[in-house]
């Protein structure tokens, strides 16, 4: 009996030994990464993942596109509630406040420290790092794809009115648009006024002019922040845009109407647009044969001291409730993305800008910005680093900001359709936006932003 028992124990121990030993040199640890990019950009992310998997043999990242940013956040929340969340997830800029209060993440800086990676956080461009950092400066997530808004202008059209440079002030823009119209251009400038354009029309404008969007330093200092763009230069700006629209200097272009503004610019229909640097590649690839164009920083009103523009895009969050082995893999993955060589690969294949100074220097040293089609994208870095971020130009930290953007679209449409005056429209935006913020604050009682 005892012999049999001992024999069985030995057998079991042996089996256990092999079971433990085998995975060590065979199966890499798998972990999930969900992202919100699609189409061309999704293919670039897939390549990035393949490169990471090929660069080492311990971990394997499984990258899955969820279609768009909204869906990524929604699906991640659903998965988290069911306990099936991915290890790493890409969350868009305006989702930052929601993530910070979720209690569903592992702080990125702590993760890197625990796994022995030294990341120099001062290497990030301050305008980018501060957007995602806590009010105390800790990095809870890693900046990933980043862009900012630029003004695209048609050099040929401006040459016709005797200009060789892009307008630097809004006063000049007004005069130039008038001149373009008089020179026979039917669409001097194109804008769109759906929810998404809150980014360039309201958020970037306010940052560059150092104007607050909300109290409490745009929400960084507390959930009781409320909107206040109805008292800033933004009202003047909307008034001017509306006037130019009424005068036929600005046309509204959107996909629903037939042509979005990037297409309108690339085909030479419209001469000026404001959009993300991420569209730089698209314009270059799809522009009308022989058209000469360039990008410039967004204009300011005369006499304004220019501040840094805001970063747009998304950051990578590591979610809680995963195993140590998966966290090790996630740390290795984030470290890989942080590498300047990855920055060069990423920016070459997309329109996004490098997020670190070392990445930017590495790309400059490689001659990336010297010639077409990438020449001009350095303007985005200049715009982002125009000044040290102020309390207001750090970013926007408001709950449910997606809904506030939707409200922006609604009110702008009402203003442009002459349903209400500019001041009434912006006041309504503040009133309805505040109701959204009220609700967000009620949902998270006794909680504070980190």
């Amino acid at each position: 009996m005892t012999i049999i028992k001992r024999g069985l124990t030995a057998l079991a121990a042996g089996a256990l030994g092999t079971a433990l030993a085998v995975p060590a040199f065979a199966e890499p640890v798998k972990f999930d990464f969900w992202f919100g990019l699609s189409g061309d950009l999704a293919r670039v992310v897939d390549t990035l993942c393949k490169n990471f998997n090929a660069s080492q043999s311990d971990y394997q990242v499984v990258c899955t596109s969820q279609g768009n940013y909204d869906a990524t956040l929604q699906n991640t929340i659903a998965a988290f509630r069911a306990g099936k969340q991915p290890t790493v997830v890409q969350v868009y800029d305006v989702g930052t406040a929601t993530m910070m209060l979720s209690g569903a993440y592992k702080p990125a800086d702590k993760l890197m420290e625990e796994n022995g990676y030294k990341i120099d956080y001062s290497d990030y461009f301050p305008g980018i790092a501060r957007y995602y950092a806590t009010s105390k400066g800790e990095m809870l997530s890693f900046p990933f794809n980043s862009s900012t808004a630029l003004m695209y202008w048609n050099k040929d059209a401006f040459a016709k009115i005797g200009k060789t440079e892009a307008p630097k002030t809004w006063e000049d823009v007004g005069a130039d648009l008038k001149a373009l119209k008089d020179a026979g251009y039917d669409c001097p400038m194109a804008i769109n006024i759906s929810a998404n354009e809150s980014w360039q029309l309201m958020e970037q404008f306010s940052a560059i002019h150092n104007q607050p969007i909300a109290t409490k330093n745009n929400g960084y200092d507390g959930l009781d922040a409320r909107l206040e763009m109805n008292k800033t230069k933004f009202v003047q700006y909307v008034t001017d845009l509306k006037k130019w629209y009424d005068d036929g200097l600005i046309k509204i272009k959107s996909k629903d109407l037939g042509q979005d503004m990037v297409q309108a610019f690339a085909t030479g229909t419209c001469q000026v647009i404001m959009t993300s640097v991420g569209d730089h590649g698209t314009v270059g690839k799809t522009k009308k044969e022989g058209m000469s164009w360039d990008v410039a920083e967004l204009p300011v009103y005369a006499g304004t001291e220019r501040k840094n523009s805001l970063v747009g895009g998304a950051s990578l969050w590591v979610l809680s409730g995963k195993s140590d082995a998966e966290y090790k893999g996630a740390a290795a993955f984030l470290n890989f993305i942080h590498d300047p060589k990855t920055a060069l690969f990423w920016s070459t294949n997309t329109g996004y800008i490098p997020v670190t100074k070392s990445g930017f220097e590495y790309m400059k040293a490689n001659g990336f910005y010297d010639k077409a089609p990438y020449k001009g994208r350095e303007v985005a870095i200049e715009s982002l680093t125009a000044s040290e971020p102020t309390e207001i130009t750090r970013g926007i930290r408001l709950g449910n900001f997606t809904q506030i953007r939707a409200e922006f679209g609604t009110q702008m449409q009402a203003i442009f359709a002459n349903k209400e005056s500019v001041q009434d429209g912006v006041d309504a935006l503040v009133k309805n936006g505040d109701a959204i913020l009220d609700r967000f604050q009620q949902t998270y009682p006794n909680k504070t932003l980190p």
């Binding site: 979720s102 759906s194 449910n400 442009f416 359709a417 949902t443």
Partner: protein, 294 residues
């Protein structure tokens, strides 16, 4: 006397009903109950906890002017698109029923639109109705500014009504045609021999005989216009411009999923459910009286 299978004990009967009951419970009562619970609390989207707020969610929704606007647009949408889809379908079905040349072909072709998924047909209509590139661009060339769904709320509403009606014409057509063909030929032939014309025959014979179908389609069309309109709105207008097409079902989606306000969205869907129930009761109570079942 009729022979009936009876069970001595009621438990066996229940046992037979169990599979069905489980299905209904899992897919209807449980989610609906969950929605009621959510509508009475404030849910943190990530599941970190919730607070009991009683009827506060309903109070804040009903105090919101945007929500009342959304109810009005939904009712306008339901009324016009149901009227349009049913009238056109009835006319087409009556004509097809008269065995005019090519009616066999129409019978097949007219059913197709219902088979197209809402987002796909919305995309098609978006191209057709685009003011700069589509079919309506011609109209705009002659009357600049005539058609602008991007800024004009009435134009946007017209676009989604058109798309929705187009889809439901196909659905209604099948039912109308079936109902018309179920009317005994002899009745119509007898009327024709008595000298009544096409319109008279329709008014006195066909229309009264198909009222059950008309009533059925009325209920279905109104219900569906509250629910099935989501895909069309999402693709064509996204609720804009300036909330002109922000139907109740779309507002539930955008508040709940985009705004992560699960509790507010749950409360809205309870209200939508009550509204549809109320409308259906009204229809059965007041319109069904005029229906002649055979």
């Amino acid at each position: 006397m009729e022979k009936r299978v009876t069970f001595g004990r009621w438990t066996i009967g229940i046992l037979f009903a169990v599979p069905q009951l489980i299905l209904i419970f899992t897919f209807f009562y449980w989610p609906a109950g969950q929605a009621v619970y959510w509508s009475l609390t404030l849910q943190q989207p990530w599941g970190g906890g919730n607070i009991w707020v009683g009827l506060e969610n309903f109070r804040s929704i009903l105090a919101n002017a945007d929500y009342w606007n959304s109810i009005t647009t939904s009712l306008v949408f339901a009324g016009i698109s149901t009227g349009l889809a049913m009238t056109i379908a009835l006319v087409l079905a009556t004509l097809t029923d008269r065995q005019l040349a090519g009616s066999r072909l129409y019978r097949v072709v007219l059913i197709w639109p219902y088979g197209i998924a809402a987002p796909a047909l919305a995309l098609a209509f978006r191209f057709i109705l685009a003011p700069e590139a589509g079919f309506m661009a011609f109209a705009n060339q002659f009357w600049p500014g005539f058609w602008d769904p991007g800024l004009d709320g009435a134009d946007a509403m017209a676009s989604i009504i058109l798309a929705f009606s187009w889809k439901y014409v196909g659905y209604n057509f099948i039912f109308f045609l079936a109902a018309l063909q179920a009317i005994p030929r002899s009745l119509i032939e007898a009327a024709a021999m008595d000298g009544s014309g096409v319109v008279r025959r329709f008014r006195d014979i066909q229309f009264p005989l198909i009222t059950p179908t008309i009533f059925f389609l009325l209920v279905i069309n109104i219900t569906e216009s509250f629910q099935d309109s989501f895909g069309i709105v999402d693709i064509m207008t996204a609720g804009g411009p300036a909330n002109a097409t922000n139907l109740m079902v779309y507002k539930i989606y955008s508040d709940g999923f985009r705004g992560l306000d699960y509790s507010g969205a749950a409360a809205q869907s309870i209200i939508l459910m009550l509204l549809i129930v109320a409308l259906t009761i009204v229809q059965f109570r007041f319109i069904e009286r005029r229906v002649h079942y055979r």
